[in-house]
Protein backbone atom coordinates (compact mmCIF):
# COMPACT_ATOMS: atom_id res chain seq x y z
CA UNK A 1 0.00 0.00 0.00
CA UNK A 2 2.74 2.43 1.06
CA UNK A 3 4.72 1.59 -2.04
CA UNK A 4 1.81 1.70 -4.47
CA UNK A 5 0.65 5.03 -3.17
CA UNK A 6 4.10 6.56 -3.47
CA UNK A 7 4.52 5.15 -6.94
CA UNK A 8 1.27 6.64 -8.17
CA UNK A 9 1.97 9.93 -6.45
CA UNK A 10 5.11 10.26 -8.55
CA UNK A 11 3.27 9.16 -11.69
CA UNK A 12 0.66 11.81 -10.95
CA UNK A 13 3.31 14.51 -10.83
CA UNK A 14 4.65 13.33 -14.18
CA UNK A 15 1.19 13.29 -15.76
CA UNK A 16 0.23 16.71 -14.44
CA UNK A 17 3.48 18.20 -15.73
CA UNK A 18 3.03 16.46 -19.07
CA UNK A 19 -0.48 17.79 -19.52
CA UNK A 20 0.60 21.22 -18.33
CA UNK A 21 3.52 21.41 -20.71
CA UNK A 22 1.47 20.14 -23.64
CA UNK A 23 -1.24 22.68 -22.99
CA UNK A 24 1.37 25.41 -23.12
CA UNK A 25 1.49 26.31 -19.42
CA UNK A 26 5.21 26.84 -19.77
CA UNK A 27 5.29 29.87 -17.51
CA UNK A 28 3.50 27.98 -14.77
CA UNK A 29 5.71 24.92 -14.95
CA UNK A 30 8.93 26.67 -15.88
CA UNK A 31 8.74 29.72 -13.64
CA UNK A 32 6.00 29.81 -11.02
CA UNK A 33 6.35 26.21 -9.88
CA UNK A 34 10.15 26.21 -9.43
CA UNK A 35 10.06 29.61 -7.75
CA UNK A 36 7.39 28.46 -5.31
CA UNK A 37 9.10 25.13 -4.63
CA UNK A 38 12.47 26.76 -4.05
CA UNK A 39 10.93 29.30 -1.68
CA UNK A 40 9.16 26.53 0.25
CA UNK A 41 12.40 24.56 0.41
CA UNK A 42 14.49 27.43 1.66
CA UNK A 43 12.01 28.88 4.13
CA UNK A 44 10.84 25.44 5.25
CA UNK A 45 14.37 24.19 5.79
CA UNK A 46 15.51 27.23 7.75
CA UNK A 47 12.30 27.20 9.71
CA UNK A 48 12.67 23.56 10.66
CA UNK A 49 16.25 24.04 11.81
CA UNK A 50 15.27 27.12 13.82
CA UNK A 51 12.46 25.12 15.33
CA UNK A 52 14.93 22.46 16.44
CA UNK A 53 17.29 25.15 17.65
CA UNK A 54 14.54 26.69 19.77
CA UNK A 55 14.66 23.61 22.00
CA UNK A 56 17.78 23.47 24.13
CA UNK A 57 20.14 20.56 24.61
CA UNK A 58 19.72 20.20 28.37
CA UNK A 59 22.20 17.38 28.89
CA UNK A 60 25.53 16.37 27.46
CA UNK A 61 24.74 12.99 25.96
CA UNK A 62 27.34 11.93 23.39
CA UNK A 63 27.34 8.28 22.43
CA UNK A 64 30.91 7.38 23.22
CA UNK A 65 32.42 5.04 20.69
CA UNK A 66 35.93 4.71 22.02
CA UNK A 67 38.19 5.12 25.02
CA UNK A 68 37.51 8.15 27.20
CA UNK A 69 40.18 10.65 28.17
CA UNK A 70 41.20 9.86 31.74
CA UNK A 71 44.62 8.93 32.92
CA UNK A 72 47.49 10.37 30.92
CA UNK A 73 49.00 6.99 30.09
CA UNK A 74 45.80 5.62 28.54
CA UNK A 75 45.46 6.88 24.99
CA UNK A 76 42.01 8.20 24.32
CA UNK A 77 40.00 7.88 21.15
CA UNK A 78 40.06 11.45 19.90
CA UNK A 79 37.54 11.07 17.10
CA UNK A 80 35.15 8.41 18.35
CA UNK A 81 35.07 9.81 21.87
CA UNK A 82 36.14 13.43 21.51
CA UNK A 83 36.77 15.75 24.43
CA UNK A 84 37.78 18.83 22.43
CA UNK A 85 36.07 21.01 19.84
CA UNK A 86 38.56 19.90 17.21
CA UNK A 87 37.80 16.29 18.05
CA UNK A 88 34.07 16.95 17.72
CA UNK A 89 34.58 18.65 14.37
CA UNK A 90 36.61 15.64 13.25
CA UNK A 91 33.88 13.29 14.40
CA UNK A 92 31.22 15.32 12.60
CA UNK A 93 33.26 15.48 9.39
CA UNK A 94 33.64 11.72 9.41
CA UNK A 95 29.97 11.33 10.22
CA UNK A 96 28.61 13.74 7.62
CA UNK A 97 31.00 13.14 4.74
CA UNK A 98 31.78 9.47 5.25
CA UNK A 99 28.92 8.06 7.36
CA UNK A 100 31.24 6.85 10.11
CA UNK A 101 28.51 5.29 12.24
CA UNK A 102 26.99 3.38 9.37
CA UNK A 103 30.46 2.11 8.48
CA UNK A 104 30.39 0.26 11.80
CA UNK A 105 27.35 -1.66 10.67
CA UNK A 106 27.26 -5.37 11.37
CA UNK A 107 24.84 -8.07 10.55
CA UNK A 108 23.85 -10.72 13.02
CA UNK A 109 22.62 -14.14 12.10
CA UNK A 110 21.55 -17.16 14.06
CA UNK A 111 23.57 -20.21 13.04
CA UNK A 112 22.86 -23.49 14.79
CA UNK A 113 21.75 -21.74 17.93
CA UNK A 114 24.59 -19.24 18.03
CA UNK A 115 24.63 -15.59 17.10
CA UNK A 116 27.23 -14.77 14.50
CA UNK A 117 28.16 -11.13 14.03
CA UNK A 118 29.87 -10.04 10.85
CA UNK A 119 30.60 -6.81 9.03
CA UNK A 120 27.89 -5.42 6.76
CA UNK A 121 29.20 -2.65 4.57
CA UNK A 122 26.83 -2.70 1.58
CA UNK A 123 24.37 -0.24 3.00
CA UNK A 124 27.22 2.07 3.90
CA UNK A 125 28.75 1.78 0.44
CA UNK A 126 25.55 2.39 -1.50
CA UNK A 127 24.39 5.13 0.83
CA UNK A 128 27.71 6.83 0.27
CA UNK A 129 27.44 6.34 -3.51
CA UNK A 130 23.89 7.65 -3.52
CA UNK A 131 24.56 10.76 -1.47
CA UNK A 132 27.84 11.71 -3.12
CA UNK A 133 26.46 11.29 -6.62
CA UNK A 134 23.43 13.34 -5.60
CA UNK A 135 25.73 16.10 -4.44
CA UNK A 136 27.84 15.96 -7.59
CA UNK A 137 24.77 16.07 -9.80
CA UNK A 138 23.37 19.04 -7.93
CA UNK A 139 26.70 20.84 -8.18
CA UNK A 140 27.21 20.24 -11.85
CA UNK A 141 23.70 21.52 -12.59
CA UNK A 142 25.11 24.89 -11.63
CA UNK A 143 26.54 25.06 -15.16
CA UNK A 144 22.98 25.76 -16.22
CA UNK A 145 22.32 28.47 -13.63
CA UNK A 146 25.49 30.51 -13.56
CA UNK A 147 27.24 32.38 -16.37
CA UNK A 148 30.21 32.23 -16.63
CA UNK A 149 30.44 28.70 -15.30
CA UNK A 150 32.69 28.68 -12.19
CA UNK A 151 35.99 26.89 -12.53
CA UNK A 152 35.16 24.35 -9.82
CA UNK A 153 31.93 23.37 -11.55
CA UNK A 154 33.79 22.98 -14.85
CA UNK A 155 36.19 20.67 -13.09
CA UNK A 156 33.40 18.51 -11.63
CA UNK A 157 31.73 18.43 -15.03
CA UNK A 158 34.83 17.19 -16.85
CA UNK A 159 35.73 14.61 -14.22
CA UNK A 160 32.15 13.33 -14.12
CA UNK A 161 32.10 13.00 -17.91
CA UNK A 162 35.62 11.70 -18.31
CA UNK A 163 34.57 8.28 -19.56
CA UNK A 164 33.84 9.93 -22.93
CA UNK A 165 31.33 7.27 -23.76
CA UNK A 166 28.97 8.46 -26.49
CA UNK A 167 27.98 11.99 -27.23
CA UNK A 168 26.89 13.72 -25.13
CA UNK A 169 29.12 11.74 -22.76
CA UNK A 170 27.65 9.61 -20.00
CA UNK A 171 28.09 11.03 -16.51
CA UNK A 172 29.52 8.63 -13.94
CA UNK A 173 27.32 10.20 -11.28
CA UNK A 174 24.20 9.40 -13.32
CA UNK A 175 25.07 5.74 -13.34
CA UNK A 176 25.94 5.82 -9.65
CA UNK A 177 22.78 7.53 -8.49
CA UNK A 178 20.66 5.04 -10.37
CA UNK A 179 22.67 2.22 -8.79
CA UNK A 180 22.34 3.85 -5.37
CA UNK A 181 18.64 4.53 -5.55
CA UNK A 182 17.97 1.07 -6.95
CA UNK A 183 19.88 -0.55 -4.10
CA UNK A 184 18.07 1.52 -1.50
CA UNK A 185 14.77 0.61 -3.09
CA UNK A 186 15.48 -3.08 -3.54
CA UNK A 187 16.43 -3.59 0.09
CA UNK A 188 13.09 -2.12 1.10
CA UNK A 189 11.36 -4.69 -1.11
CA UNK A 190 13.53 -7.73 -0.57
CA UNK A 191 14.76 -7.66 3.02
CA UNK A 192 11.82 -8.64 5.22
CA UNK A 193 12.83 -6.48 8.17
CA UNK A 194 13.40 -3.40 6.06
CA UNK A 195 10.15 -4.02 4.23
CA UNK A 196 8.40 -4.24 7.58
CA UNK A 197 9.62 -0.82 8.72
CA UNK A 198 9.15 1.01 5.41
CA UNK A 199 6.47 3.66 5.14
CA UNK A 200 5.08 5.61 2.20
CA UNK A 201 7.45 8.35 3.29
CA UNK A 202 10.35 6.00 2.56
CA UNK A 203 9.26 4.97 -0.92
CA UNK A 204 8.08 8.36 -2.12
CA UNK A 205 11.47 10.12 -2.07
CA UNK A 206 13.12 7.09 -3.66
CA UNK A 207 10.61 7.03 -6.51
CA UNK A 208 10.84 10.78 -6.84
CA UNK A 209 14.62 10.78 -7.02
CA UNK A 210 14.58 7.85 -9.41
CA UNK A 211 12.13 9.72 -11.64
CA UNK A 212 14.26 12.86 -11.49
CA UNK A 213 17.38 10.94 -12.48
CA UNK A 214 15.50 9.03 -15.17
CA UNK A 215 13.96 12.12 -16.78
CA UNK A 216 17.36 13.80 -16.61
CA UNK A 217 19.03 10.92 -18.38
CA UNK A 218 16.21 10.64 -20.94
CA UNK A 219 16.50 14.35 -21.58
CA UNK A 220 20.21 13.95 -22.24
CA UNK A 221 20.12 10.92 -24.44
CA UNK A 222 16.65 10.30 -25.86
CA UNK A 223 14.30 13.26 -25.86
CA UNK A 224 16.92 15.85 -26.64
CA UNK A 225 16.17 19.40 -25.58
CA UNK A 226 17.56 22.78 -26.46
CA UNK A 227 20.10 23.15 -23.72
CA UNK A 228 20.93 26.75 -24.58
CA UNK A 229 17.26 27.63 -24.26
CA UNK A 230 17.14 25.86 -20.89
CA UNK A 231 20.13 27.72 -19.58
CA UNK A 232 18.63 30.97 -20.76
CA UNK A 233 15.51 30.16 -18.76
CA UNK A 234 17.39 29.09 -15.64
CA UNK A 235 19.74 32.08 -15.68
CA UNK A 236 16.72 34.34 -16.11
CA UNK A 237 15.13 32.66 -13.06
CA UNK A 238 18.26 33.37 -11.03
CA UNK A 239 18.14 36.99 -12.21
CA UNK A 240 14.47 37.36 -11.29
CA UNK A 241 13.69 38.34 -14.88
CA UNK A 242 12.10 35.13 -16.05
CA UNK A 243 11.70 34.39 -19.75
CA UNK A 244 10.69 31.06 -21.18
CA UNK A 245 12.23 30.53 -24.61
CA UNK A 246 10.27 28.54 -27.17
CA UNK A 247 10.94 24.97 -28.05
CA UNK A 248 12.49 23.73 -24.83
CA UNK A 249 10.86 20.31 -24.82
CA UNK A 250 8.15 18.73 -22.71
CA UNK A 251 10.44 16.42 -20.78
CA UNK A 252 12.21 19.40 -19.31
CA UNK A 253 8.99 20.55 -17.66
CA UNK A 254 8.41 17.08 -16.26
CA UNK A 255 11.94 17.05 -14.85
CA UNK A 256 11.42 20.49 -13.30
CA UNK A 257 8.06 19.49 -11.82
CA UNK A 258 9.64 16.45 -10.16
CA UNK A 259 12.53 18.50 -8.78
CA UNK A 260 10.06 21.09 -7.54
CA UNK A 261 8.09 18.36 -5.80
CA UNK A 262 11.26 17.17 -4.12
CA UNK A 263 12.17 20.67 -2.97
CA UNK A 264 8.73 21.43 -1.63
CA UNK A 265 8.49 18.04 0.09
CA UNK A 266 11.95 18.24 1.61
CA UNK A 267 11.41 20.37 4.74
CA UNK A 268 8.41 18.34 5.86
CA UNK A 269 9.95 14.94 5.47
CA UNK A 270 12.63 12.61 6.72
CA UNK A 271 14.89 14.23 4.13
CA UNK A 272 15.56 16.81 6.82
CA UNK A 273 18.15 14.34 8.11
CA UNK A 274 20.38 16.53 5.96
CA UNK A 275 20.06 19.33 8.51
CA UNK A 276 19.39 17.10 11.49
CA UNK A 277 22.65 15.20 11.33
CA UNK A 278 24.49 18.41 12.16
CA UNK A 279 22.38 18.90 15.26
CA UNK A 280 22.35 15.39 16.67
CA UNK A 281 23.34 15.72 20.34
CA UNK A 282 24.80 12.23 20.57
CA UNK A 283 27.33 13.11 17.88
CA UNK A 284 28.08 16.82 18.07
CA UNK A 285 29.01 17.06 21.74
CA UNK A 286 32.32 16.51 23.45
CA UNK A 287 32.44 13.89 26.18
CA UNK A 288 33.80 16.27 28.79
CA UNK A 289 30.84 16.60 31.12
CA UNK A 290 32.84 15.64 34.20
CA UNK A 291 35.50 18.25 33.42
CA UNK A 292 33.31 21.11 32.22
CA UNK A 293 29.88 21.69 33.69
CA UNK A 294 27.13 21.62 31.09
CA UNK A 295 24.33 24.09 31.77
CA UNK A 296 20.69 23.15 31.42
CA UNK A 297 18.73 26.34 30.79
CA UNK A 298 15.54 24.94 32.30
CA UNK A 299 17.20 23.34 35.29
CA UNK A 300 14.90 23.94 38.24
CA UNK A 301 15.16 23.23 41.94
CA UNK A 302 13.56 19.96 42.99
CA UNK A 303 12.31 18.61 46.22
CA UNK A 304 14.67 16.07 47.70
CA UNK A 305 14.98 14.23 50.93
CA UNK A 306 17.23 16.41 53.04
CA UNK A 307 19.73 14.87 55.45
CA UNK A 308 18.02 16.60 58.39
CA UNK A 309 14.71 14.94 57.56
CA UNK A 310 16.53 11.64 57.27
CA UNK A 311 18.19 12.05 60.64
CA UNK A 312 14.94 13.17 62.23
CA UNK A 313 13.30 10.06 60.91
CA UNK A 314 16.02 7.61 61.88
CA UNK A 315 17.63 9.32 64.91
CA UNK A 316 16.92 6.56 67.38
CA UNK A 317 18.12 3.67 65.31
CA UNK A 318 21.10 5.66 64.18
CA UNK A 319 22.00 6.43 67.76
CA UNK A 320 21.65 2.79 68.72
CA UNK A 321 23.85 1.78 65.84
CA UNK A 322 26.50 4.22 66.90
CA UNK A 323 26.23 6.38 63.83
CA UNK A 324 27.31 10.01 64.25
CA UNK A 325 24.45 12.49 64.48
CA UNK A 326 24.07 16.19 63.79
CA UNK A 327 21.64 16.63 66.68
CA UNK A 328 21.74 14.34 69.68
Amino acid sequence: MAMTFSFFAVIAIVVVALIGALSGLHFVFGVILPYAAFAIFLVGFVNKVLNWASSPVPFRIPTTAGQQKTLPWISDSKLDNPTTTIGVIGRMVLEILFFRSLFRNTSTELRSGNLVHGPAKWLWLFALIFHWSFLLIALRHLRLFVEPVPFLIQGIESIDGMLQVGSPPIYISDLLIIAGVTFLFMRRVILPRIKYISLAADFFPLFLIFAIAATGILMRFVFRVDIVGIKTLLVSLANFSPVVPDGIGVIFFIHVALVSALMAYFPFSKLMHMGGVFLSPTRNMANNSRAVRHINPWNYPVKFHHYDEYEDHFRDVMKDAGLPLEKE
Binding site: F41, L42, F45, V46, V49, L50, A53, S54, P56, V57, P58, L142, R143, L144, F145, V146, E147, P148, V149, P150, I153, Q154, E157, S158, Q164, G166, S167, P168, R224, V225, D226, I227, V228, K231, T232, L234, V235, S236, A238, N239, F240, S241, G247, G249, G275, F278, L279, H294, I295, N296, P297
Partner: protein
Protein backbone atom coordinates in the same frame (compact mmCIF):
# COMPACT_ATOMS: atom_id res chain seq x y z
CA UNK B 1 22.32 25.18 25.70
CA UNK B 2 21.04 26.45 22.41
CA UNK B 3 24.23 26.74 20.29
CA UNK B 4 22.73 29.59 18.32
CA UNK B 5 26.28 30.85 17.79
CA UNK B 6 26.84 27.81 15.61
CA UNK B 7 23.40 27.20 14.15
CA UNK B 8 22.74 30.73 12.85
CA UNK B 9 26.05 31.00 10.96
CA UNK B 10 25.46 27.46 9.70
CA UNK B 11 22.07 28.45 8.33
CA UNK B 12 23.51 31.59 6.74
CA UNK B 13 26.12 29.47 4.98
CA UNK B 14 23.42 27.04 3.90
CA UNK B 15 21.22 29.77 2.44
CA UNK B 16 24.29 31.35 0.84
CA UNK B 17 25.22 28.12 -0.90
CA UNK B 18 21.67 27.41 -2.00
CA UNK B 19 21.21 30.87 -3.47
CA UNK B 20 24.62 31.00 -5.11
CA UNK B 21 23.16 31.32 -8.64
CA UNK B 22 21.10 34.31 -7.50
CA UNK B 23 23.71 36.43 -5.80
CA UNK B 24 26.56 35.50 -8.09
CA UNK B 25 24.65 36.91 -11.06
CA UNK B 26 23.97 40.28 -9.45
CA UNK B 27 25.44 43.09 -11.47
CA UNK B 28 26.34 40.86 -14.37
CA UNK B 29 24.75 41.41 -17.72
CA UNK B 30 22.96 38.37 -18.95
CA UNK B 31 24.90 37.12 -21.93
CA UNK B 32 22.87 35.08 -24.32
CA UNK B 33 24.90 33.16 -26.88
CA UNK B 34 24.31 34.25 -30.45
CA UNK B 35 25.99 31.79 -32.76
CA UNK B 36 26.95 33.55 -36.02
CA UNK B 37 26.08 32.05 -39.39
CA UNK B 38 27.55 34.79 -41.58
CA UNK B 39 30.42 32.80 -43.03
CA UNK B 40 31.24 33.22 -46.72
CA UNK B 41 30.03 29.71 -47.50
CA UNK B 42 26.66 30.23 -45.84
CA UNK B 43 26.22 33.69 -47.30
CA UNK B 44 26.55 32.18 -50.79
CA UNK B 45 23.74 29.70 -50.15
CA UNK B 46 20.44 30.49 -51.76
CA UNK B 47 18.41 28.51 -49.30
CA UNK B 48 20.15 28.65 -45.97
CA UNK B 49 19.66 25.23 -44.49
CA UNK B 50 21.80 22.71 -42.62
CA UNK B 51 21.95 18.93 -42.99
CA UNK B 52 18.78 18.65 -40.90
CA UNK B 53 16.33 21.25 -39.63
CA UNK B 54 17.45 23.83 -37.10
CA UNK B 55 15.63 22.41 -34.07
CA UNK B 56 17.11 18.98 -34.66
CA UNK B 57 20.57 20.44 -35.19
CA UNK B 58 20.28 22.54 -32.02
CA UNK B 59 19.32 19.64 -29.78
CA UNK B 60 20.91 16.64 -31.40
CA UNK B 61 23.93 17.59 -33.55
CA UNK B 62 26.29 15.93 -31.09
CA UNK B 63 24.51 12.62 -31.42
CA UNK B 64 24.51 12.87 -35.20
CA UNK B 65 28.18 13.70 -35.44
CA UNK B 66 29.03 10.92 -33.04
CA UNK B 67 26.96 8.57 -35.16
CA UNK B 68 28.76 9.72 -38.28
CA UNK B 69 32.11 9.06 -36.74
CA UNK B 70 31.13 5.51 -35.83
CA UNK B 71 29.71 4.82 -39.28
CA UNK B 72 32.74 6.17 -41.10
CA UNK B 73 35.43 4.73 -38.91
CA UNK B 74 33.89 1.41 -37.97
CA UNK B 75 31.62 0.55 -40.90
CA UNK B 76 33.37 2.44 -43.68
CA UNK B 77 30.12 4.17 -44.74
CA UNK B 78 30.75 7.62 -46.14
CA UNK B 79 27.31 9.00 -46.90
CA UNK B 80 24.31 10.00 -44.80
CA UNK B 81 20.83 10.37 -46.21
CA UNK B 82 18.99 13.14 -44.45
CA UNK B 83 15.27 13.56 -43.91
CA UNK B 84 14.99 15.48 -47.13
CA UNK B 85 16.45 12.51 -49.00
CA UNK B 86 19.71 14.23 -49.79
CA UNK B 87 23.00 12.37 -49.62
CA UNK B 88 25.55 14.14 -47.45
CA UNK B 89 29.15 13.22 -46.90
CA UNK B 90 29.70 12.30 -43.27
CA UNK B 91 32.66 14.49 -42.44
CA UNK B 92 33.23 17.03 -39.73
CA UNK B 93 35.89 18.88 -41.64
CA UNK B 94 34.42 18.66 -45.13
CA UNK B 95 30.73 18.98 -44.36
CA UNK B 96 30.14 20.74 -41.03
CA UNK B 97 33.12 23.00 -40.95
CA UNK B 98 32.88 23.83 -44.63
CA UNK B 99 29.91 26.06 -43.88
CA UNK B 100 30.56 26.69 -40.17
CA UNK B 101 34.13 27.76 -40.67
CA UNK B 102 33.81 30.19 -37.77
CA UNK B 103 34.27 27.73 -34.86
CA UNK B 104 34.91 30.49 -32.34
CA UNK B 105 31.80 32.45 -33.31
CA UNK B 106 29.59 29.43 -33.90
CA UNK B 107 30.47 26.24 -32.04
CA UNK B 108 32.22 27.82 -29.10
CA UNK B 109 29.56 30.36 -28.17
CA UNK B 110 27.04 27.77 -27.00
CA UNK B 111 29.60 25.23 -25.84
CA UNK B 112 31.21 27.77 -23.55
CA UNK B 113 27.83 28.99 -22.34
CA UNK B 114 26.72 25.53 -21.27
CA UNK B 115 30.17 24.32 -20.29
CA UNK B 116 30.31 21.62 -22.92
CA UNK B 117 33.76 20.44 -23.96
CA UNK B 118 33.39 18.32 -27.07
CA UNK B 119 36.33 16.11 -27.78
CA UNK B 120 36.11 16.60 -31.59
CA UNK B 121 39.37 18.45 -31.52
CA UNK B 122 41.27 15.78 -29.68
CA UNK B 123 41.71 14.20 -33.14
CA UNK B 124 40.58 16.74 -35.70
CA UNK B 125 42.67 19.76 -36.48
CA UNK B 126 41.05 22.97 -35.43
CA UNK B 127 40.47 25.71 -37.91
CA UNK B 128 43.52 27.94 -38.03
CA UNK B 129 43.94 30.89 -35.76
CA UNK B 130 41.86 29.52 -32.89
CA UNK B 131 43.30 28.67 -29.57
CA UNK B 132 41.85 25.60 -27.95
Amino acid sequence: MYDSDKIIPGLIIFVGLMTFPIWSSIGKAEPKPEPKIDTPAINQMVKKQCVEDTHFMKTSHMQMINDWRDKVLRDGERYYTNSRGEKVMMSLQNTCMKCHSNKDKFCDTCHTYTDVKPYCWDCHIQPKGIKQ
